[in-house]
C-alpha cells in the first residue's frame, strides 16, 4: 500500500498565511526541505494532520528573503537554520538563529 499525499505550489508571499492555516487545522510541522534548482531553490514544507500528509512547494530565487515560521511553529527553528546554513537561503526573524553555527562544516553553504 502506498501513501498518497498532497503537494501544492504556493507563492513565497503566502508562506505565513499557509503556516497559520496549517496551525488552524491542528496539523504539526513534520519537516522543511530545500532543493537546489537552476534558478534558485524549491522549499518543501510538510505537515501531518492525523494521517494526512500535506506538502507545500515554494520556488524562490537565490536573492529572495523569506520569513521564518518559528512564531507559528516553534520547531521550525532547526529546519530553518539548516536551510540557511547549508543552502544560503535568506530567512528573517528565526526565533533561535544559530548564525551559521548549527553544523561544524568546512565549506560555506555546500548545497548552494
Amino acid at each position: 500500500m502506498r501513501e498518497d499525499y498532497k503537494l501544492t505550489t504556493i507563492d513565497f508571499s503566502n508562506l505565513s498565511l499557509m503556516a497559520l492555516d496549517m496551525k488552524g487545522i491542528g496539523a504539526r510541522l513534520s519537516q522543511i526541505c530545500s532543493v537546489r534548482t537552476k534558478d534558485g531553490f524549491d522549499l518543501l514544507y510538510s505537515f501531518v494532520k492525523d494521517y494526512e500528509f500535506i506538502n507545500y512547494k515554494i520556488s524562490i530565487n537565490e536573492d529572495t528573503e523569506i520569513e521564518s515560521i518559528t512564531a507559528i511553529f516553534p520547531n521550525a527553528f532547526l529546519y530553518e537554520n539548516e536551510m540557511s546554513e547549508l543552502f544560503g537561503i535568506k530567512i528573517k526573524y528565526i526565533a533561535l538563529d544559530y548564525k551559521n553555527k548549527l553544523y561544524d562544516i568546512a565549506v560555506e553553504t555546500p548545497f548552494k
Binding site: 500500500m1 501513501e3 519537516q31 518543501l44 506538502n55 511553529f73 516553534p74 520547531n75 532547526l78 548549527l102
Partner: protein, 340 residues
Amino acid sequence: MSKRSIVPFGPQHPVLPEPIHLDLVLEDEKVVEAIPSIGFIHRGLEKLVEKRNFHDYMYVIERIMDVEIPDRAKYLRTIWCEMSRLHSHLLWLGLLADAFGFESLFMHCWRMRETILDMFEASTGGRVIFSVNKIGGVLKDMDNSMLRTFVDMFDKMEEEVRQLTNVFLKDYTVANRLKGVGILTKEDAVLYGAVGPMMRAAGIESDTRKLGYAAYGDIDFDIITGKDCDSFSRCEVRINEIFQSFNIIRQAVAKIPEGPVSVDVKGNPNGEAFVRLEQPRGEAIFYFRGNGTQFLNRARVRTPTFANIPSLVKILEGCDFADVPILVLTIDPCVSCTER
C-alpha cells in the same frame, strides 16, 4: 530572581549516550532554558548521496520508479523492521536503567538484545546495519524453518522480557525517577512536532505503520498510547511496543506467502517522492528527487530524533538539573542519524 548560570552539557559527557550539546541556563538547580547544538558529528550524508549511486535507499526509489515488490519481500521487511524495533527498545531500556543507576537491569536488557542481534546475524549476516534490502525486494530469504525457530525463540524471550519490564513498571525507585518528570502535553507534542513514542506517550494516537507500507496493511495491531505525558509514560509505551512487535512478527510469520523475494529493476529514477516510515524512534521522512541518471538531485532524510529535539528543549524547561540526563534519554536520541 536567583543568579543565572550557564552549564555547557555535552557533546562528550559520561551520562550522554550520544554526542548532543546543550547550553543549560540554570537558576539554582532549575533549568530555565536549554539551547541545543548539533553538528559535532555532521558527515554531510545528504551531500554525499549526490555523488554516489542511489542503491542504498529502497523505499523512495521504489516509489519514484513505481516498483511493486513481491509479497514475500514485504513480509520479510516487516519482520526485520519489528526485530529492529525490539533491539532498539531493549537498547533504550538498558540505557535508561544505566542512567538511573540500576546496573543489573541494564545488563539484562542488553543480554536480551544480544539474542536479537544473533538472530539478525543468522538471517542477514549483519548485526545492526544488515544491508539486506535492495531496490525491488530483499537480498536474502528466510526459510520457513528459520522463521519457526525465530518464533519459538521469541515465545521464550517474551516471558523473560515480561519479568524484566515488570521491574521498570513496578519498582518504586524507577517510578520515583520517571513519574511526573518531563511532561509534554498533547498540545505541546503537536506544537513542537514530536514523533514516535514521544508523541504517543502524550496521548496522540498516530503510528505511521498504519499507512500500511510493507506488510503492515495485513497485520492487526493497535496503536499504543500513554496518558500521563511524562517520562514514565514514554517508558511504558516503548515496553508495550516490545510486546506488540512480538505479536506482529508472529502474525507476519503465520501469513508470509511463498514466492520470490525480489524483482529486477532497470533504469534510473526520474521524478520526486516523499516516503514516511515508522522507525523505532518515530516517524522518519525521506524525500528524493531523481534526474534520470544514477545520481540524485536531492536526498533528504528527516530522522525522528531531529523532529524530537524541539520537544526535548520544551521538557527541559523548568526541570531539575539532575533530571537532564534522564530527559535527554526519554527522546531516545540517535544524534549520529540526526546529523547525517
